[in-house]
């Protein structure tokens, strides 16, 4: 589904990602871990299509298409979802209305009719019920005045509405207390299926207690220095990153 080939990328002319290759198939969950400054967030920004970040060489192929040639809107419509580390606040734009806009953009792309607010409300209520979210998320403005945990929940709600093929969750666990982490993880698990894939980008292993990865990759200085299964994450947690990064 996703094929990253020798990706080099950076921001403002500084190379941060220095040759990453990664292959993700349907139904798989990959965790990308690494210390601060290892290139995790640059990789996430590149995958999401953030205009400030630039890929200098390499390829990212998604469903046979060159992802690097698509802008953020096209990537989203193609089925890539980015769960942001710091979701931006948009005062004045109602959350439910925003979700409907995003949902309809996808339907229009698929040649389907837009759904009206009433029908959408039904869909939204169903998804919110599944994720155990309170009604207030409908009434409030997009991330406006949300706590860190509320913003992350709202990201997962968007993921549920947009039903992406590939989801990237960037530091979704940061800023969450243990209860919120559990709720968010349960939500993500409910959305997993044989047809979609998930990439978790995280600094800590604790998220992986709730969302079990099939593969764990350790990033250091812009490269994947070690790959393994869930056991690798546990080892990392107990021994710290020095263990892998210096072993390289």
């Amino acid at each position: 589904m996703l094929e990253i080939k020798d990706l080099h990328a950076g921001v403002d002319g500084t190379e941060i990602v220095k040759g990453i290759s990664l292959s993700v198939n349907k139904g798989e969950v990959h965790a990308i871990m690494g210390p601060n400054g290892s290139g995790k967030s640059t990789l996430a920004k590149i995958l999401s299509g953030h205009p400030a970040y630039e890929a200098t060489s390499g390829e990212i192929i998604f469903d046979g298409k060159n992802l690097l040639e698509m802008d953020a809107e096209e990537r989203s419509l193609a089925g890539v979802f980015m769960g942001f580390q710091y979701p931006v606040e948009v005062p004045g734009v109602n959350n439910a209305e925003f979700l409907r806009m995003a949902h309809n953009a996808r339907r229009v792309k698929a040649g389907e009719e837009e759904v009206d607010p009433l029908d959408f409300d039904e869909l939204l209520s169903e998804k919110m019920k599944m994720l155990g979210m309170e009604k207030k998320y409908k009434e409030r403005n997009l991330n406006d005045g949300f706590s860190g945990g509320e913003k992350k929940k709202n990201e997962i709600l968007q993921m549920a509405i947009l039903e992406p093929k590939l989801s990237l969750l960037d530091e979704t666990d940061s800023g969450l207390d243990i209860d919120a982490l559990r709720i968010v993880s349960e939500g993500v698990n409910k959305l997993r299926s044989e047809n979609n894939a998930l990439i978790l980008i995280t600094h800590y292993q604790r998220l992986l207690d709730y969302i079990k990865p099939d593969f764990v990759h350790v990033l250091s200085q812009g490269k994947i220095v070690k790959s393994g299964d869930k056991a690798l994450a546990i080892e990392l947690e107990s021994q710290g990153y020095d263990w892998v990064t210096t072993a390289d």
């Binding site: 299509g49 953030h50 953020a72 809107e73 980015m82 948009v90 004045g92 995003a102 953009a105 996808r106």
Partner: protein
């Protein structure tokens, strides 16, 4: 990818001004210039009663002693008032009996503007007075309104049919010498709308005026007077457009509102005068307007809502004099400036009576090279005990060449008042747009969502028909430039 990306300000580019056509009608226009004879001639032309001529002459004498105000935060070359024609009317031989007799060209103009005057195709529940250059050409629904005793007619007609009503109220809210442009208007106004709502009457429909400036180098000086008697209510709508000329045209209107005990007037404006060339700033309307309402009666209310999207320069402060006890004033405003537009707009809330309330919600959006200023005065007099005011004026900036200014004046002279003023600035940020895009929502939809979210406190004050139009108008200013 980034090459294709338009900057936010590109996205807000104005599209072609849709109303920039002129209509070829035979009109009768006075020679340019202004002196006492011109004032007399206007009065004579309109066959006005004696008091009206005296009113005009007094105003003209006052105007000659006054200077153009220099305090607004706008810049323009000084206006040559002798190079303006003070009277232009579609030529007509006799008093029109029905709409069929209106020059068909004029009728077509209003049709092009989307204002059906033909009563067959009338808007469901809106009575319309159409003012073409300086003269009212058509007023709809008059009969239906008259059944309830509501007078809705051109002010020139009111001067013939109800001179005592006009004499009693004209100039009581905006005195002839109130300010430079009001004095000029008082001397030379040619027409406008007159509304009288008798006691205990709720107007069965929205009342509306559309203004159209058609002739180049004509000033439009219309005068509106609305009186709402005890326990009555009216909602009044005003729309404005003008053709595209390279020269600037002057629009100096005066609107006076009076409410008696327990009466309420809701006055809404969607202003879309031609704003001048987007690149050069050439041409466009100078919109120097005095709008003021007096809550003369106890428990009365005046509410101004405006959506300002046009004019090269806007100088306009719809105000409320809260004289009656427990009276209240409201001001809701969205002012969008782009290109080289300059707007200095806001309100005055003058609290005189006890327990008076006012609230001000102002939203300014500035894009391109434009300058957008909010100027608002809240003055609470010594006897206005327990007066309350709440003001909120927010600015949104689009692009780094535009500017936004906030000039509140808060003056209080007694201890039982409560005044709160808040202001904040925001922008449409690239981060916000990127967030929308990453959810598959296009930039134009994202901008629209952010802008309408920013303005929604004001839009919800507009009558339904106007809210739709205002939303359309803002979108119109923003779309087309996208993609």
């Amino acid at each position: 990818m980034s090459d294709e990306q338009n900057s936010v300000s590109d996205l807000l580019e104005d599209n072609q001004y849709k109303y920039g056509f002129t209509t070829d009608v035979e009109s009768e226009t006075f020679a340019k210039g202004l002196n006492e004879d011109v004032v007399r001639a206007i009065s004579k032309k309109k066959n006005e009663p004696e008091f009206m001529l005296n009113f005009r002459l007094k105003a003209f004498a006052k105007w000659k002693t006054m200077k153009e105000p220099a305090w607004p935060n706008v810049h323009y070359p000084s206006i040559d008032f002798q190079n303006i024609s003070y009277y232009s009317a579609p030529k007509k031989k006799k008093v029109l009996e029905s709409l069929d007799e209106v020059d068909p060209e004029v009728m077509r103009t209003f049709e092009k503007l989307g204002i059906p005057l033909d009563e067959q195709k009338k808007l469901a529940n809106v009575a319309v007075d159409a003012v073409f250059d300086s003269v009212s050409v058509a007023t709809t629904h008059k009969k239906k309104l008259m059944e309830q005793g509501i007078i809705f007619c051109p002010i020139s007609e009111a001067l013939q049919d109800y001179p005592e009503l006009v004499e009693e109220y004209l100039g009581t809210v905006v005195p002839v010498g109130d300010n430079y442009y009001a004095a000029l208007n008082s001397a030379v106004f040619t027409d406008g709308s007159f509304v009288y709502i008798p006691p205990d009457t709720i107007s069965p429909m929205e009342i509306s005026t559309y203004f159209r400036i058609n002739t180049e180098e004509t000033g439009q000086f219309e005068r509106t007077l609305i009186i709402c008697a005890e326990n009555s209510y009216v909602s009044y709508l005003e729309g404005c457009t003008a053709p595209q000329f390279d020269t600037n045209q002057l629009h100096a209107a005066v609107v006076e509102l009076v409410t008696m005990d327990n009466a309420e007037i809701k006055y809404s404006t969607v202003q879309n005068w031609y704003a001048g060339d987007k690149e050069t700033g050439k041409g466009g309307i100078y919109n120097f307007v005095t709008k003021r309402g007096k809550c003369a009666g106890d428990n009365s209310k005046i509410s101004w809502t405006q959506v300002e999207t046009g004019s090269a320069i806007t100088w306009k402060y719809p105000s409320c004099i809260l004289q009656g006890d427990n009276s209240s004033g409201e001001f809701y405003s969205v002012a969008l400036t782009n290109g080289h537009m300059q707007a200095d707009t806001g309100t005055k809330m003058i609290h005189i009576g006890k327990n008076t309330r006012s609230s001000i919600i102002s939203k300014g959006i500035s894009a391109d090279h434009s300058s957008n200023s909010y100027r608002g005065q809240v003055r609470i007099g010594k006897n206005a005990t327990n007066a309350r005011n709440y003001s909120q004026c927010d600015s949104m900036l689009v692009g780094d060449k535009s500017s936004a200014h906030t000039f509140p004046y808060i003056e209080t002279a007694n201890s039982s008042v409560q005044v709160e003023h808040e202001a904040a600035t925001s922008k449409i940020s690239e981060d916000q747009l990127f967030y929308f895009e990453s959810r598959g929502v296009s930039r134009e939809n994202a901008i629209e969502a952010v802008i309408s979210g920013f303005c929604k406190d004001v839009f919800k004050q507009l009558p339904m028909e106007f809210a739709v139009e205002a939303q359309k108008l803002l979108t119109l200013k923003l779309e087309d430039s996208v993609g």
